[in-house]
Subunit: 340 residues, 2 copies
DNA sequence: GGCTAGCACTCGCACGCCCAGAGTGCTAAC
DNA sequence: GTTAGCACTCTGGGCGTGCGAGTGCTAGCC
């Protein structure tokens, strides 16, 4: 589609623009990148590339700037993720392992690391628990009329809720309920499966209506009000980007990040693969973010629960670096969290 | 110290400045605020007020602007918190009550409400658990070699941790440990008291060294890695303030808010009183925040655990409104969280 | 046919300039 | 003590200008 030399020029323009942030002119390309042709020739090629949609001009007589299409071509053809520096990777994994007991803490730490290492904005979504397997689920009476309802999954996550019982429960009853839970619910996945089984149980345990009611609630929306579902790190980094010197733009962007729903949707469904996904400019379907790019990857926890990590930065980012960073953090997170 | 008329003028200047954001001149005061004297007279008075340190001039031949001292005088003498609108208050309390089961969720909701209602930045610190009373504390075996360690306090907060045991525990051992916990630790407060008792127990339970070790850790830093200790809401509101059109200033400020330690210190020790505390400009001991004011109040949960809510905005804020808002949210939070 | 030198042209940006407007402080008179 | 008058100061915006970077085009060269 575009010949060898055009490719080299496109690449040179993009890499120059990424490192300087200034529109790049034909002189620069001819001089700095070892082309043995004159600026005029480069100009002709650049005019072609512009016509093809890979480059843009902010205004006549400025240099060229990559378009979304240009970046896309660049990412697809020239960027191969370098595996992250091994020492860095170990460092991250170890630091995450320290908080692995508490998923929320690990997720927050990941967001922090990601934003600090990238100098951009980090997004990490908590794991989807729908397919986490229930390892244990139990009622523990806690004085008087209260009982603690706990769920332990293979992800190590513990959902719990203090139940207010209408009546006190005697040990035999507790025993019976717990046995039922153990026999019927353990081994199921958190989502619909457990809910269905639980609804059956509700019949048999009719006399404890309120109790069962409340346990159903917990299973129905795991982590809905306990752990947060989304962590944003280093939001202020955005303000360092020249493309956001415009306060209003920055405010719009940061504002839209406060809409959890939007961002979760943006991060997309976790996908069982290790490679990062790159979304560029207008490919992001959120108006405020259209001069950003987003790099995401999935992490896995337990048997089959997935979450997403991502970096949101200016389109003008070092894709190779960010991609490997994001992949590394996703992997570190997966490996440091409880295995099964 | 300053006479009646000077007071009126000071007040007029501040209120005018608060509502317009522009330095206010003698004409404006004389005209808008029903003084029956000429601008020249006002000018003389304003010169005095400046000499006394209550007003400042951004530059010769601009109007006057209140100094920190001026705001301080204003807040101490002229601002009395209007009790918040009753309907709003009820609305807030009810909305908080919905999340009261999970303290973290309630705290996040409070931060959100506070930032939305004030249009400034909201800070809410999680409750200090040091003086929460332990209602129950127990080990629950969870399959194989794992056990769940749970702590329930009078605040309703449940600390828990999945313990990896070196060896499996038989029911009798579990029984014994739990009885010891119940007899010795329940009723203590979370902080030093419980820790001391627990250390004694450590001797008696020497053979389960690892287990006791881990429980000590949990008690030692309650909520340290589970719930977050600080929630920031509406950070972007800051960008709407004219005093932060300067990106670099805004970035410094938002950056310093990411230092949890700093902010927690700033919020200060919760104090058992319902009135708000106002900290103005340089009274805030954080360089980046010196053209802000901070209004904080304490909320209470359980018997004796306190946390702080606060609003950080430009010095030029409507103090009466913000003070009553902050007090209202603190009260709503206290009343909607589990009583004992 | 592709490449290049030369050249006129186009912008954006920084700089300096100037002026209007707002507000002051001072003085002298009431 | 108050006020009118006046000279003075400072900011901010509007405007013109020159410079530099970079382009597109044309004509000639290999």
């Amino acid at each position: 589609m575009i010949d060898e030399r055009k490719q080299r020029i496109l690449r040179a323009v993009i890499e120059d623009y990424i490192s300087t942030g200034e529109p790049v002119g034909s002189r620069t390309i001819a001089r700095k990148h070892g082309f043995n042709v004159s600026p005029a020739t480069i100009r002709n090629e650049m005019a072609d590339l512009e016509e093809l949609g890979f480059l843009e001009q902010p205004h006549t007589s400025a240099g060229r700037v990559p378009s979304d299409l240009g970046y896309r071509y660049y990412v697809d053809h020239f960027v191969r993720a370098v595996p992250a520096d091994h020492r860095l990777w170990q460092f991250m994994r170890d630091r995450l392992a320290l908080r692995a007991r508490e998923i929320g803490a690990a997720v927050r730490a990941a967001a922090r690391m990601l934003s600090e290492a990238s100098n951009f904005l980090a997004l990490v979504s908590g794991p989807h628990l729908e397919s986490a397997r229930i390892d244990a689920l139990r009622i523990v009476p806690v004085g008087g009329q209260r009982a603690l309802f706990v769920v332990v999954t293979d992800t190590g996550i513990v959902e719990n809720r203090l139940l207010e019982l209408g009546q006190p429960l005697n040990p035999a009853e507790v025993e019976r309920i717990n046995r039922l839970f153990e026999e019927r619910v353990c081994g199921q996945t958190m989502g619909r499966a457990a809910l269905a089984v639980m609804k059956d149980l509700a019949m048999e345990l009719r006399q404890y209506g309120d109790l069962v009611e409340q346990t159903l609630e917990v299973l129905d929306r795991p982590a809905a009000d306990g752990e947060e579902r989304l962590v944003v790190g280093g939001a202020t980094n955005i303000l360092r980007q020249p493309e956001f010197r415009d306060i209003d733009k920055a405010q719009m962007l940061l504002g839209s990040l406060e809409q959890e729903e939007t961002v979760l949707e943006l991060l997309g469904e976790p996908q069982p693969r290790t490679r990062a996904r790159v979304v560029i400019g207008h490919e992001i379907r959120v108006a405020e973010m259209q001069d950003c790019s987003l790099v995401t990857a999935s992490y896995r926890i337990g048997g089959d629960s997935w979450g997403q990590v991502g970096v949101l930065g200016p389109r003008r980012m070092d894709y190779a670096k960010i991609i490997s960073l994001v992949e590394a953090v996703a992997r570190a997170l997966s490996e440091s969290l409880p295995r099964r």
